[in-house]
C-alpha cells in the first residue's frame, strides 16, 4: 500500500539515551520507520587525553589510559606501558608478563560480558543483564584484591605490575575458571538460544568483508566479517606466542555473529588464562628501571588487541621526562564509522541493535 505525502522525520537520539552507551548523539533521518541517513555527533566526553599527555610525565599518564576504554582498563595500561618499554628497551620479568596476560584476558572477558548483557538489554531482555553482571562481579573483585579499585584499575607500571596479587586471588581465579563452562552454557541458553534474540539480530546490519577492510575496522567486528586477523597471532606481543589458542572467525557479517564472536572469544580467553595459571613462574614483578623515566629521542608505534578493536599508541620522545606527542589510535573511534554506512535502510529498532553489537565505548571514542 503506497502512502502519499510522507514527510522525512529527523530524530535526535542522545546524548542522554540509554541505548547510546555513554554520551553519543546521532541525528537520524527517518522515512516512516526506515533510517535514511545518520549523522553521528561525538565529543561529549572529550577530555583531550593527547594534550594532557604532553604535560604529564610518562608514569603519570598511566591512570589516564584507564579512562579510555573503561570497561577493560588493564588492556589500555598494557598498550601504553608496552609502548614506553619498547621505546626504552626495558625487559619485563617473566612473572609480570604472565600476570599481565591473566589480567588482560580477565578484562577481555569482563568487557565482553558487558557487551552481551547490554545488547540483550537494548532490545528488552533484562534477565541476561543480571546473569552476566553476576559473573563480571567476580572479575572486578579480583581486580580489587590486587589493585584496590574495580573499574579504573591502574594495575600496570612501566617495567612490570603495581603489586603481587594477594593470596586469596588465586583460589578466586581458580573457582571462576571452574565455574566458567557452566556460566557459558547459561549465557548461551538465555541469550543466544532465545528466539527473540535470533529474530532481532540475524541478518541485520550486514558489514561485508571488503567494506570492513576499507573502513579500517579492527577487533571482533572485523573477525565477525570473516577476516582472520588478530594482533595476538599476527604480531605476537608480550608472551602470546607461548599460548595455544584459536582466533574465532565467523562469516555471517551480521549483528548475530558480532555478538556470538564475543562468546567464542570468552572461551579462548579462558583457555589462555588456564595455561597462564599453569605456567606462571616465581620471581620479581618489576624490572629494574631508573627512578626518572627518560626515554631516548625517537618514535615508536605499538598496538595491542583490545576487546573492542586494536588500541595503538604512537609516542614521540624528545629525550625529556615528558612525551612530545602521544597519539592514541582507539578501536571504537574508527569502528564507529561503520554505523552511518551499515545502518542505512534498516528500521530504527535495528539501528539500536547494530549500535549495540558494535560495542563502542564512548570513553575510547572521545579520548
Amino acid at each position: 500500500m503506497a502512502i502519499e505525502n510522507t514527510q522525512e522525520l529527523i530524530l535526535n537520539m542522545g546524548p542522554q539515551h540509554p541505548s547510546t552507551h555513554g554520551l553519543f548523539r546521532m541525528i537520524v533521518h527517518l522515512e516512516g520507520e526506515t533510517v535514511t541517513k545518520i549523522i553521528p555527533k561525538i565529543g561529549y566526553l572529550h577530555r583531550g587525553m593527547e594534550k594532557l599527555a604532553e604535560s604529564r610525565t610518562y608514569s603519570q599518564f598511566i591512570p589516564y589510559t584507564d579512562r579510555l576504554d573503561y570497561l577493560a582498563s588493564p588492556h589500555n595500561n598494557w598498550a601504553y606501558v608496552q609502548t614506553v618499554e619498547k621505546l626504552m628497551g626495558v625487559e619485563v620479568p617473566e612473572r609480570a608478563e604472565y600476570l599481565r596476560v591473566i589480567f588482560g584476558e580477565l578484562a577481555r572477558i569482563a568487557s565482553h560480558h558487558i557487551m552481551i548483557a547490554s545488547t540483550a538489554l537494548d532490545f528488552g531482555g533484562s534477565t541476561p543483564w543480571f546473569y552476566l553482571f553476576r559473573d563480571r562481579e567476580r572479575i572486578l573483585d579480583m581486580f580489587e584484591m590486587t589493585s584496590g579499585s574495580r573499574l579504573t584499575v591502574n594495575i600496570m607500571r612501566i617495567g612490570g605490575m603495581c603489586a603481587e596479587p594477594p593470596a586469596e586471588f588465586w583460589p578466586a581465579l581458580q573457582s571462576f575458571l571452574d565455574d566458567s563452562p557452566e556460566m557459558l552454557e547459561e549465557y548461551y541458553g538465555i541469550f543466544f538460544g532465545n528466539e527473540i534474540a535470533q529474530a532481532r539480530l540475524k541478518n541485520i546490519g550486514i558489514l561485508p568483508k571488503e567494506l570492513a577492510e576499507n573502513l579500517s575496522i579492527t577487533g571482533p567486528i572485523l573477525r565477525a566479517s570473516g577476516v582472520n586477523y588478530d594482533v595476538r597471532k599476527a604480531e605476537p606481543y608480550s608472551i602470546y606466542n607461548r599460548f595455544d589458542f584459536k582466533v574465532p572467525v565467523r562469516t555471517g557479517c551480521d549483528s548475530f555473529d558480532r555478538t556470538m564472536i564475543r562468546m567464542d572469544e570468552i572461551m579462548e580467553s579462558l583457555k589462555i588464562i588456564r595455561q597462564a595459571v599453569r605456567d606462571i613462574p616465581e620471581g620479581p614483578i618489576m624490572a629494574k628501571i631508573p627512578k626518572v623515566i627518560k626515554p631516548p629521542v625517537g618514535e615508536v608505534y605499538h598496538r595491542v588487541e583490545n576487546p573492542k578493536g586494536e588500541l595503538g599508541f604512537y609516542i614521540v620522545s624528545d629525550g625529556t621526562t615528558k612525551p612530545s606527542r602521544v597519539r592514541i589510535r582507539s578501536g571504537s573511534f574508527i569502528n564507529l564509522q561503520m554505523l552511518p554506512i551499515v545502518a542505512v535502510g534498516w528500521k530504527i529498532q535495528d539501528l539500536i541493535a547494530i549500535f549495540a553489537t558494535m560495542d563502542a565505548v564512548l570513553g575510547e571514542v572521545d579520548k
Partner: protein, 163 residues
Amino acid sequence: MENKELLKQRVEELAARVSGEVKESFGVFILKVKAPYIIETLTAAKSFTDVPCDFLHDLGGLDLGDHFEVVYQLSSLRGPQLLRVKAIVDRENPVIDSVTRIWQGANFLEREAYDMFGIIFKGHPNLKRIYLWDDFEGYPLRKDYVTEPIEVRNIVRTRIEGE
C-alpha cells in the same frame, strides 16, 4: 625475514620515485615524503607486489615546530608488513590531499587531525570539527596553543601582542 627484505626493496623503489627518504626505527620502515606526493605514495604502497600495505591502521598529525607532519600507519591483514608514511605539511599553509578516496576509514581520522592541528584535507567529503564545537578557537594540539582558560588566554594574548 624475506618479507622484510622485499618490503625494503619496494619502499626504496617508491622513495626514489616520489623523492622521499627512508629510515628504519624499531623494525618499521619510515618513508618521508612531501605533501603533494601523498596520494601517489599511498596508492603505490597499497598495491606493492607481494607485500601490499593495504590497511590504513592510523592517521594522525604531528607538530614539529617549523612544519607539520601527517603520519600514516599502514599494515596488512594478510602479512606482517608495516610501513609508516610521513607527509611534510607546510605550517603556514597546511593543505594536503585527502585519502578518503583510497580508504573510507580515513574519514573520521582526517576530521580529527583537522580539529586538533588545523590541517586541511583537500577533497574530504565533510571536513568539520569532530570533537570540539564548531566555533572553537584555535587548534589544541599545536605546540603554540595556550592551554589556560579562555579568559586567561585573552590576557596572555593581549600582553604578548602589547609588547
